[in-house]
């Protein structure tokens, strides 16, 4: 298109434009009425119109939308309901030894039958589940808090690396069960009056915190060299505030993910320890103790083992499913 053509084209357009009926009135259009000056407000262009993005709101939204998360939430609610409500309605004497009622099969009185000393298996199992989950929650919280604290320090102060690595090798190279047994034995000798529950919590915590610490240390190493941390250093921000304001918020999602995987691990550890006789005594009501008893007459009365084993599987499944769904929701890349 040469220059003349272009002129014609734009002129034609202009005449068409003039014929347009604005506002329904056939008014003559001049340029002044078409354009008006606006004040340029330098600050107006800086206004952000979108709603503030909230990370945690998006986490909730993503979490609730997922079908697998829905299953996890429902089974978690059922589980919590069961361990809170069922033990409250235990009939008189159902958790007591009663040799006359031993080894009963399931019937309308004893829904899941009775164990080898005549206790009701349904109420025993759920009461035991409550204890096992309670212990696991306490231990997991301790492990995560201690592990995160030391992990941050370990990652932040490079000079401490050799000390922590030695400690890690020391703790991690002993098989877990052996370590629990050892710690539990030492504690029972040193503090004979200590409750078995407390001993269990302490020995599990001592054996497990360094794993979390190492995980947090690695995560910390990844983010400490990011530029925003350099910026804080050049501003002279003290280490404690760098850890709480710069590092911890970034680690929160991985910490939650870790915790959701540690809890079922702790339930298994409690069960294993009690099963091998270094956790809670066998007259205590916990899943581990019940499994230990149920094993003894498995051939004759398999239900004595299957009841606590089934509930344990359900618990572990629920926590894992919940943890995986949460991990997904915590990932900002999956937010919409």
């Amino acid at each position: 298109m040469n220059k003349r053509n272009w002129d014609k084209f734009s002129l034609k357009n202009f005449s068409e434009f003039k014929d347009v009926d604005i506002d329904g009135q056939n008014s003559a259009v001049n340029e002044d009425s078409l354009f008006k000056f606006v004040e340029l407000d330098e600050f107006k262009s800086e206004v952000i119109k979108v709603e503030p993005y909230s990370y945690w709101k998006s986490v909730m939204r993503t979490f609730i939308r997922k079908p697998s998360a829905l299953i996890a939430i429902i089974s978690m609610l059922l589980l919590l309901l069961a361990i809170i409500v069922i033990p409250m309605f235990t009939p008189e004497g159902f958790l007591d030894f009663s040799i006359a009622d031993k080894d009963l099969p399931p019937d309308s009185v004893h829904l899941w039958g009775t164990d080898l000393v005549g206790r009701d298996l349904f109420f025993m199992t759920w009461t035991g589940a409550r204890k096992s989950i309670g212990l696991a929650l306490i231990t997991s919280s301790l492990v995560v808090v201690i592990g995160t604290g030391f992990g941050l320090i370990w990652g932040f102060y490079r000079k401490l690396d050799p000390i922590f690595i030695e400690l890690y090798n020391l703790i991690a190279n002993i098989p877990a069960l052996l370590l629990y047994m050892l710690l539990s034995y030492v504690l029972s000798q040193a503090f004979p009056a200590m409750a078995a529950e407390v001993r269990l919590i302490i020995s599990l915590t001592i054996a497990s915190w360094i794993g979390v610490a190492r995980f947090i240390r690695n995560q910390t190493l990844i983010i400490t060299n990011r530029e925003y941390n350099l910026a804080s250093k050049t501003l002279g921000t003290p280490p404690a505030r760098i850890m709480t304001k710069n590092l911890l918020p970034y680690l929160l999602s991985v910490i939650i993910t870790q915790t959701s995987l540690i809890i079922p691990g702790m339930i298994s550890s409690e069960v294993a320890m009690s099963f091998f006789g270094v956790g809670l005594p066998s007259n205590a009501i916990s899943l581990g103790a019940l499994l230990d008893l149920g094993r003894q007459k498995f051939e004759l009365y398999p239900f004595q083992l299957l009841a606590p084993a089934g509930v344990l599987s359900f618990i572990i499944f629920t926590f894992f499913l919940f943890g995986l769904a949460l991990t997904d929701a915590l990932d900002p890349k999956k937010h919409r």
Binding site: I48, Y228, L230, L235
Partner: protein, 332 residues
């Protein structure tokens, strides 16, 4: 026999006084920052990266000192060395006549931090995504306890926000809600609120959208005027440097190859590397482009280790040998 002594001379590190004069003996100007014989090497043995080699320059109070060179030439490394983030392999850096490299007490290093601040290249990476604007800008105020109470602090922060054309309602927002230009202005506010004297701006506009570069550059100029700031301005593009700086050091491969007044260097480049940088500047008028030949610099043609700094005219230094400089200035 003399070889042995040579080795000794190389091995024994030169020692640097803990204080130096703040007046330039040649022109009498006030020196704010002095970089002396600075080497920064990373790694050891075969894999040593010599990021900075015998750097020498002075930054005078109130000026904008431009540092220009292609990426990888060591500009960020020397900026971070000034801040104490990168340790020096050799040499010393002085701020207001006091040595700020080597062993410093906590108090001394904090005092230096309150006077030298940095504006980072990538505003997306250099802001804490999990902190709101209020905390990000207040961070320095907290560290140096530069406020009386919360009201006073908020007053200072909103004041600073206004200076960088942001709004008080932004205080509760998080960095990712802002545009690139806005984020960079948050970064500028964070650095300037503690009233530093020297600001190291490490390619502050190169990661921004072209349309807003001028806006941020003008803001930096305005803030400099209003607050009597001295800038070390890093860029990989000579056109920006010419616009903003008074004096320029051209860096290539860890060496300063040419140093002098911005106008002189722009109008009369001597080192072939500077010439190649100049011809790389895009021309706004397409008709002039044809007249200019784009020079390609051959790094292999010069061995920097055999060169020295030669003063070709008043405070104009070029890295070379007398023969090379003669060749560069006569050849047309």
């Amino acid at each position: 026999m003399s070889n042995i002594f040579d080795i000794f001379r190389k091995e024994s590190k030169k020692s640097y006084p803990s204080t130096v004069s703040t007046k330039d003996s040649v022109n009498g100007r006030d020196i704010l920052l002095e970089v002396r014989d600075v080497d920064v090497f990373f790694g050891a043995g075969k894999h040593t990266v010599k990021a900075c080699n015998s750097l020498n320059f002075k930054i005078y109070t109130g000026e904008t000192f431009g540092l220009v060179g292609e990426s990888g030439s060591g500009k960020t490394t020397i900026s971070r060395a000034i801040l104490g983030i990168n340790k020096l392999t050799n040499g010393a850096i002085y701020f207001k006549g006091e040595k700020i490299t080597g062993k410093l007490t906590k108090k001394e290093s904090l005092a230096v931090k309150s006077k030298i601040q940095m504006i980072f290249q990538d505003p997306a990476a250099s802001l804490n995504e999990r902190a709101n604007v209020d905390y990000i800008i207040s961070e320095g105020l907290y560290n140096f306890k530069m406020y009386e109470n919360t009201d006073d602090r908020l007053h200072k922060v909103t004041d600073m926000l206004h200076k960088v054309s942001l709004l008080p309602e932004h205080l509760s927002r998080y960095p990712h809600e802002f545009s690139g230009g806005q984020r960079q202005r948050i970064g500028i506010a964070r650095a300037l609120i503690i009233e530093p004297e020297l600001v190291l701006a490490d390619e502050p506009i190169s990661s921004l959208d072209v349309s807003i570069r001028a806006q941020v550059l003008n803001l930096l100029k305005k803030l400099q005027r209003d607050n009597d700031l001295t800038y070390l301005f890093v860029a990989h593009d000579l056109s920006i440097i010419k616009y903003i700086s008074d004096r320029v050091a051209v860096m290539n491969d860890g060496y300063i190859v040419e140093l002098g007044n911005a106008n002189d260097i722009y109008s009369n480049p001597i080192h072939p590397y500077t010439k190649s940088l100049l011809t790389a500047i895009p021309q706004p008028d397409p008709r002039t482009k044809n007249d200019r030949k784009k020079l390609v610099y051959n790094r292999q043609s010069i061995n920097y280790e055999e060169c020295e700094y030669l003063e070709v005219s008043d405070s104009r230094f070029v890295l070379g040998t007398p023969e090379l400089i003669k060749q560069w200035t006569t050849k047309q």
